[in-house]
Symmetry: C2
Subunit: 96 residues, 2 copies
Amino acid sequence: MKLNEKQTATIFKAFCDENRIKILQLLIDGEKCACKLLEAMNITQPTLSHHMKTLLDSGIVNGRKEGKWMHYSISKKGLEKAQEYLDFLKNNGKEE
Amino acid sequence: MKLNEKQTATIFKAFCDENRIKILQLLIDGEKCACKLLEAMNITQPTLSHHMKTLLDSGIVNGRKEGKWMHYSISKKGLEKAQEYLDFLKNNGKEE
DNA sequence: ACCTCACATTGATGCCTTTCTATATGTTAT
DNA sequence: ATAACATATAGAAAGGCATCAATGTGAGGT
């Protein structure tokens, strides 16, 4: 595994907050702009922005700017990285 | 998915702390007792105990008491639960 | 140019987590 | 019984994180 402990923790930060899980659920059926997410959640706009930053940093979510809108979507690549780590643990440290 | 946001977050708490990742790495090559983990880590015994509780709560680690020793190991079942959730996200909310 | 809208950033506050020391619990050996 | 050991728990201090109101930025529209 080429990731260190800190990097690994950063990836999984995406999944260890209730509100971020809620956001991921909202993104399951495809890309959404921040304003749509905000409507669906019970938090203020700066709080959403904060969580989106965490999600982007984790690599689990992609961001795309279009005019004044930010569109967010789940990153399959990011998910695969997380999955790789779980597989790594499951296979006793063998890389597959 | 039968898990709510809180439960999901609890599972992934296992992976979002640097020290807990280090502990998981130590458990990769099989069951270890708390004292062995303590030797390998740079933390005090109560701190280790705290992290082990978090790991047990997440379901990612199993605990087995034998005399005065606690033996910890990675739970394949717990890992699979985490994997299921990642698959769920990856497959746009389809259960496989 | 100006205003408005969508979002990010700043700074403050409260809470939750990590960490420690000290102590309790439970187990084994003497 | 008691001593020694392994681990858990309690309580406190420190740091980090989530949250908010206020403000900044940057894009479009008038």
